[in-house]
Amino acid sequence: MTHPPPSLSDRLRAHGISRRSFLRYCATTASLLALPPAMAPRIAQALEAQRRPSVIWLSFQECTGCTESILRSDAPSIESLIFESISLDYHHTLMAASGHAAEAAREAAMAENAGQYLVLVDGSIPLGNMGFSTTAGESNVETLRRVAAGAAAIVSIGTCAAYGGIPYANPNPTGAVPVSEIIRDKPIVNIPGCPPIPAVMTSVLAHFLAFGELPELDDLGRPVVFYGQNIHDRCYRRPFYERGEFAESFDDEGAKKGWCLYKLGCKGPTTYNACAVLKWNGGTSFPIEAGHPCLGCSEPNFWDAGSFYQPLSQATDLDSRTLALAVGAGVAGAVVAGVAGREAQKAHHEAAAKRAADRSKAEVSE
């Protein structure tokens, strides 16, 4: 007699997690997703019934930072157990199998769960030379197309998968593109960040598991609930901005007093993420709290949007050299046009004087 695979509820109990803690987790997830409290039991019910949905994690042009982010969540948190409780059938870094055995595991998972598995992608996909990034002799773009064909949905983890990220930055030597430029017929949710916040990743997965659909997304394909507000609006240093109190350097009195980092190039005002609310390392801190300006890593093209340390109010292309050249061009143009205009003016006056003289001469002769 074969036993059905254990449900999430069974697995949590096996890990010593009480039902009360599990329900608290569901309530927290509902709260994170801005769902009404009444939805918490529904999340619990749906998650309890889940039989380890198959997840295939594809890593392309990436740095493994997104995987590190999930692994370094304050284990053994309930979030990490939730993650353990999905069937992560393929992940380069985490799986024990390697080589042909690993690829066989992926093929088997795809065949057994056709149309139902989730594909998580980190890293951008090179379209330049297919040899730039391959797995088992197959180019990244082919792997993505083949695996995505049978997926229920795709989650682009990190800015590289969501918007191209660092590989996509100018001059983009590998011709890197985000997932959304290759796959257009599947639901895709972007969870940008370099790396993304662990709780955001797990909450989006929990939402999909509980409701069978992706959460509400903004125009950049991000869950509105986590990316709906900019970091500046939720930053604890905001009052210093309002009072005009800024750190001028990383070691001055302003920096020591925790004043606003706008002058040091903080991109918080134009960056939409939950860093200032959820924070990192179990809610310990986030980059601005650690004294460094926000880089805007969850926004498209953050790498090419001027220097990280240039204030947002400064022009990125304009400099005094350009202005000096413009002054030179303006003066030269004005001199040439002025002299030509003066000559034309003189010629006009002389012609008018000659006409008048001719007229008076004609009158005299008459």
């Binding site: 900019n230 500046h232 609006d233 309002e242 009072r243 005009g244 800024f246 706008y262 002058k263 005002p269 134009t270 498209p300 093209n301 090419d304 949007a305 001027g306 240039q310 204030p311 947002l312 109010s313 400064q314 022009a315 990125t316 292309d317 304009l318 400099d319 005094s320 350009t322 202005l323 050249l325 413009a326 002054v327 061009a329 303006g330 003066v331 143009g333 004005a334 001199v335 046009a337 002025g338 002299v339 205009g341 003066r342 003016q345 003189k346 006056h349």
Partner: protein
């Protein structure tokens, strides 16, 4: 490239180039303009004194017209001062100039800037409505007059909105603010706004001419 990247990058760069080239073009044109030599003898000496006096005397309303133009005069003074206070004394604007020229100076508190910007924008709107509704003003106003007020007003309104996080998302509002500044830079040399540069020299020239003819300035 996002709208903000475009505004901070190529838009501001090209607008500044057009502004500088256009300004020098206009100044060069005025300098090289051939002028008729005065045919009469000077009535008074010290011509520079007449020019210098007129530069300053026109900063206050003429006694004859004082009652009739005091509102317009005062409103004009206040919004011009307010505009320059906002432009030059706002922390974020000083950062812009510092990035360009490497120079910075102390800023006024944000609250003062906010009040100055609101008063300036309010007065500009009031003056624009007055220009459009008063029959005499309307008769002597052309497209340049209306457009110049609007082009000056836009950076103030978009700046206020982005500071107060009103309307569109902050980065969109900031991009619109920078684009409105770019529009102002492009419009200025080729419109009546060029008086920013020509006003004081032309007062001086006018003062010299009046003084030469013996007219008290």
């Amino acid at each position: 490239m996002t709208l903000l990247d475009f505004a901070r990058g190529p838009a501001l760069e090209w607008a500044a180039v057009i502004f500088v080239v256009g300004l020098f073009w206009r100044i060069g044109g005025l300098i090289f303009l051939a002028r008729a030599r005065p045919l009469s003898r000077n009535r008074r000496d010290d011509l520079w004194r007449g020019g210098w006096r007129m530069v300053w005397s026109r900063f206050v309303p003429n006694r004859v017209f004082r009652d009739r133009i005091s509102l317009q005069f005062l409103a004009g003074w206040v919004w011009h001062v307010g505009f320059f206070v906002v432009l030059l004394m706002f922390e974020v604007h000083i950062l812009f100039f510092e990035g360009l020229f490497g120079l910075s100076w102390p800023a006024l508190p944000n609250t003062v800037i906010l009040v100055a910007a609101a008063v300036t924008a309010g007065l500009l709107v009031m003056l624009l409505i007055r220009r459009a509704t008063q029959p005499v003003l309307r008769a002597i106003s052309g497209f340049d007059d209306y457009a110049s007020v609007v082009v000056v007003l836009l950076p103030l309104l978009t700046g206020l909105a982005s500071y107060a996080h009103l309307g569109l998302a902050y980065e969109t509002m900031l991009a619109l603010h920078l684009l409105s500044v770019a529009l102002l830079l492009v419009w200025l040399p080729f419109s009546k706004l060029v008086h920013v540069i020509t006003m004081l020299p032309s007062r001086y020239v006018m003062g010299v001419k009046f003084w030469r003819r013996g007219v008290e300035v």
